[in-house]
Symmetry: C2
Subunit: 198 residues, 2 copies
DNA sequence: TTGTGAAACCTAGGGGCATTAGGTATATCC
DNA sequence: GGATATACCTAATGCCCCTAGGTTTCACAA
């Protein structure tokens, strides 16, 4: 009956650790309570329910990932920044697979809580400012941001799901993808649909 | 007590329908049994357990998606084939969100069953042959295939998770991404790391 | 027609998990 | 030292996964 000093943050952190170890889908109230040496019911004083817990893990992950990317890209620009950004993204996904997948859930979280989390918002700003070196104007900038996020997330996600056969090391493909992304951003194609002669 | 004519295929199909309606994570033995008008235990005569059912849904989805892509790309080549391929991919994900996410699971399925499923294998062949029009040699071909899968999956996945703000319609970005992918494949960058002068 | 074996389906039950209601202990502040 | 908020607990409900073992139905042959 000794006080364990539980808080929503501590519960969330243990949930995040568990997610990385056994997968997000196995993060259960019972498992978190067990690890904290506490009964299931006790968690409900700090966290609304399982969905809420998962949302908090997602927010935590978004914050951590953003910080990691910010640190990696600080003081760099152009291609160097792009590579640092991408490697930080992939590195986070590798180090924290459970947290990373939490990031992917549609986020039906308490709006008040979401508002206090700087992660997602700052992540977007970061990406935009990083890509500004490529001198794209809207709406191309937005498209470029989306393309980049798609590619990075898709790669990391397929990699985690075992989607790449072992015929060629994923790392080699990764480097080529970054090359490709860089040259693509440098030579962003003009619209070719409307008014394309020949 | 009337026979319902259950088979593994029927159970899988109902599971897939359920997945599209309520999300893969809510596909439960009980829910499938309810929809079939049968008791939970009856399903275990056809499907080993819940994981097995999910694996079968994944395999079904892979097959369906492959067929859809094959039909869309049949008789086309080059840019047209690329666009048809990508649109078929995205279309399947839109029409069958639950099945599509099933595709993403690491697949710990009965090897004997997996061997009989042509989907995944054929999907790879299809992609390779579609990209052959861009005249890439190995290992660039493999890298290109992986990049394309990453981008398509990433886009569709972010889109489904509500990852794109409503500032710009996703469809517009999608078209630009296909443009980008196409020009990228046409001007696949040479290696720039080793021996790049200037 | 009837017997037989294989499926198809059932009842019963154990065990895990999520969640709520309501109780007891503990720290804090006057 | 008592009031109060808070941390944690016990108890109970209900859903879900899964197993064991029984019963009904079907196809087919004697």
């Amino acid at each position: 009956m000794a006080r364990m000093g539980l808080t929503a943050e501590r519960v969330t952190l243990v949930g995040a650790e568990l997610a990385d170890e056994v997968g997000l889908e196995h993060v259960t109230m019972s498992a978190v309570a067990r690890r904290l040496g506490v009964k299931d019911a006790s968690l409900y004083a700090h966290v609304r329910n399982l969905d809420d817990l998962r949302g908090r893990i997602a927010l935590l992950a978004a914050d951590e990932k953003t910080i990691r990317i910010a640190e990696a890209t600080a003081g760099r620009s152009g291609r160097e920044a792009l590579v640092a950004y991408a490697n930080a993204w992939r590195g986070y996904a590798h180090d924290h697979p459970g947290r990373y997948t939490a990031t992917q859930t549609p986020m039906e979280i308490d709006p008040e809580l979401a508002a206090r989390a700087a992660g997602p918002r700052r992540a977007i700003e970061l990406t935009y400012s990083m890509l500004r070196a490529y001198r794209l104007d809207e709406p191309d900038l937005t498209d470029a941001v989306r393309l980049m996020r798609s590619t990075l997330h898709g790669f990391v996600s397929l990699e985690a799901a075992g989607g790449f056969a072992h015929s060629r090391p994923a790392q080699a493909t990764w480097l080529r993808c970054l090359d490709a992304l860089h040259t693509l951003l440098e030579h962003w194609p003009e619209h070719e649909h409307e008014g394309d002669p020949a």
